[in-house]
């Protein structure tokens, strides 16, 4: 009986596991393998050790994109979570307009990135954009900011739009987690003389810890692999100032001489995504153990 159940369990798992192996795991392994060769996409190849990697790290455009990707990934994850949690706490206080607000906060996540990119480009354009027109009207010519056309600001613009697009689901998950915190326990703590902040730090935060983990993972995963927004908003410009690792990989992939750089960059992106997230999971496990178990 048990053996029969296990056998059908294997049958249940087989189709999707095969698809995941063929279309996800195998290509990733291939990326790693070919990144150690001088392969150009066609014909033979020979092993050249790590020289693709030493070469790519000499390319300033690449190292800048690498740092930028880490910066965008970490900043958007932190900001989207801070905003998401803050407004989830506010919405949790049984506001009358809660359901409508929740939907409005979620909608940016539903809007296709291409649409978001075009609309934001329309809003933020340096000369004709409505935001700069408004700022000029308020503060004079000095008020105008090069949101998209300045290499210094464009990263922050992208972070802002990404947080705008990403925080809806995060907020929803926090709201659900907050509703799982029993009201009686909060009241009991208050009666014992705890302040609002104390009950938040010692009761609410530990109880919503699994939600925090999921949300930070969502933020990191999306932030580190971001492609659509910089591609459609600025095309990676000005002068490569908004190129992320994914955009770089795309560019390398379509240039016949740099294909192997693209493979090395792919491997670096995988490693970063795995290392950053595993580091965070380890950290959050430690925290969850320290607060709930201890």
């Amino acid at each position: 009986m048990q053996r029969k159940i296990y056998l059908s369990g294997l049958v249940f798992m087989a189709p999707i596991t095969i698809i995941i192996f063929v279309f996800l795991v195998y290509p990733i392994l291939q990326s790693m393998f070919y990144s150690l060769t001088d392969w150009t996409g066609v014909g033979g190849y020979r092993f050249i050790g790590l020289s693709n990697y030493t070469d790519i790290f000499k390319d300033e455009g690449f190292t800048d994109a690498l740092k930028r990707t880490l910066f965008i990934g970490l900043t958007t994850a932190v900001l989207a979570n801070l905003f998401g949690l803050f407004f989830a706490v506010l919405l949790d206080q049984s506001l009358k307009t809660k359901n409508v607000l929740r939907a409005l906060f979620y909608i940016p996540n539903v809007i296709p990135t291409v649409v978001a990119a075009f609309v934001w480009r329309y809003i933020l354009d340096s000369n004709t954009g409505m935001l700069n027109k408004g700022l000029v009207a308020l503060f004079g010519e000095k008020g105008s900011i090069l949101w998209l056309d300045s290499p210094d600001y464009v990263v922050y613009t992208i972070i802002g739009i990404t947080v705008w697009a990403m925080w809806g689901p995060i907020l929803i998950i926090y709201l659900a987690a907050l509703q799982g915190v029993p009201h009686e326990m909060k009241e009991a703590m208050m009666i014992d003389g705890a302040t609002k902040r104390q009950s938040f730090v010692h009761l609410t935060l530990p109880m919503i810890a699994p939600g925090i983990t999921v949300n930070v993972l969502i933020g990191l995963a999306n932030g580190l692999r971001i492609f659509d927004l910089p591609f459609a908003l600025t095309g990676g410009g000005p002068a490569g100032a908004s190129e992320t690792l994914s955009v770089k990989i795309y560019r390398y992939a379509f240039s016949s001489t740099e294909l192997s750089y693209g493979l090395s960059a792919s491997f670096i992106l995988t490693v970063i995504a795995l290392v950053v997230t595993f580091f965070f999971i380890a950290l959050s496990r430690k925290y969850e153990k320290g607060t709930i178990g201890g």
């Binding site: 059908s8 798992m13 999707i16 990733i28 506010l90 539903v110 929803i172 699994p210 792919s266």
Partner: protein, 275 residues
């Protein structure tokens, strides 16, 4: 005093919701204005002089019907793979008490973290070798592989909370594992299924990168790609056409979101918090 603070708070949150919704508002009003009016009064309400002309224009020029069909077909196949086959696998990893199955849970969860961008270059060649290049099936399989791990993660979290007694009695009555899954488990996971389908379908509908790399936009234009290709070359010279096109891209997905909003918000949150 307390009442007043509460009201102030509510007003603050509403203000933020208004700011966050500015882009959507711009699309909704400017889709009904002629170009000069959009330039002059971007924020004002439309006077409906042009009616639905912007959308009709965009409709005629963008070949949007083909784009809807393509995107919908890709989404449907991808959903069958990611959600359908994912649910089966989730049942095995979350309900069968053998260490092999629970270790596979960690394998799937780790797969969530793999950025598909890292596999892009080999994927192009893989599809060529499988004769799936520039086909709806090729890209759908990739979406399936990419989205399934998250579905399995969410389903497993949810399925663990289902009491075992239900299945055990089914097994004792001589039900096969398949029948148990389809008759006992499947009805229980419908809410999660609905929310997963909506969330994942939206992400397929909105994706730009995979169709950009894997599909020829003339043969198989997705909605995002046709909007991108159509306006990347035209810049912002005709805003009424741009907003008409944006409206066409946005409309189906907004209708989907609004009609299932309540449903999927609930499913999404239970799976994530328990998982």
């Amino acid at each position: 005093m307390r009442q007043k603070r509460h009201l102030l708070l509510e007003l603050g949150v509403i203000l933020l919701a208004v700011i966050v919704s500015v882009p959507l508002y711009l699309v909704l009003i400017n889709a009904f204005k002629p170009h000069p009016e959009i330039v002059k009064h971007p924020l004002s309400f439309p006077r409906f002089e042009v009616g639905f002309d912007n959308m009709v224009n965009a409709f005629e020029k963008m070949d949007i019907v083909k784009a809807y069909g393509t995107t919908f077909a890709i989404g449907a196949v991808a959903m069958f793979i990611a959600v359908g086959l994912g649910a089966l696998a989730a049942y095995a990893v979350s309900r069968l008490k053998h260490p092999f199955f629970s270790s596979m849970y960690w394998f799937y969860t780790a797969c969530i973290l793999i950025p598909i961008q890292s596999a892009l270059i080999p994927l192009v060649l893989l599809l060529r070798d499988l004769h799936l290049q520039n086909s709806i099936f090729g890209i759908s399989f990739i979406y399936g592989a990419m989205l399934a791990p998250f579905c399995i993660f969410m389903y497993s979290g949810f399925m663990r909370s289902i009491p075992y007694e239900l299945e055990e009695s089914a097994y004792l009555d001589g039900c096969s594992t398949f029948r148990t899954f389809f008759q006992i488990i499947l009805p229980l996971i419908l809410p999660v299924t609905a929310s997963l389908i909506i969330v994942q379908f939206i992400s397929v509908w909105n994706d730009l990168q995979l169709p950009l790399v894997l599909l020829n936009s003339v043969d198989h234009p997705t909605v995002s790609i046709s909007l991108y290709k159509f306006f990347a070359s035209r810049n912002m010279s005709d805003l009424s056409l741009l907003f008409g096109g944006i409206m066409l891209t946005l409309l189906p997905i907004m209708i989907l979101f609004i009609s299932f909003q309540r449903y999927f918000v609930k499913g999404l949150s239970t799976g994530a918090v328990k998982g």
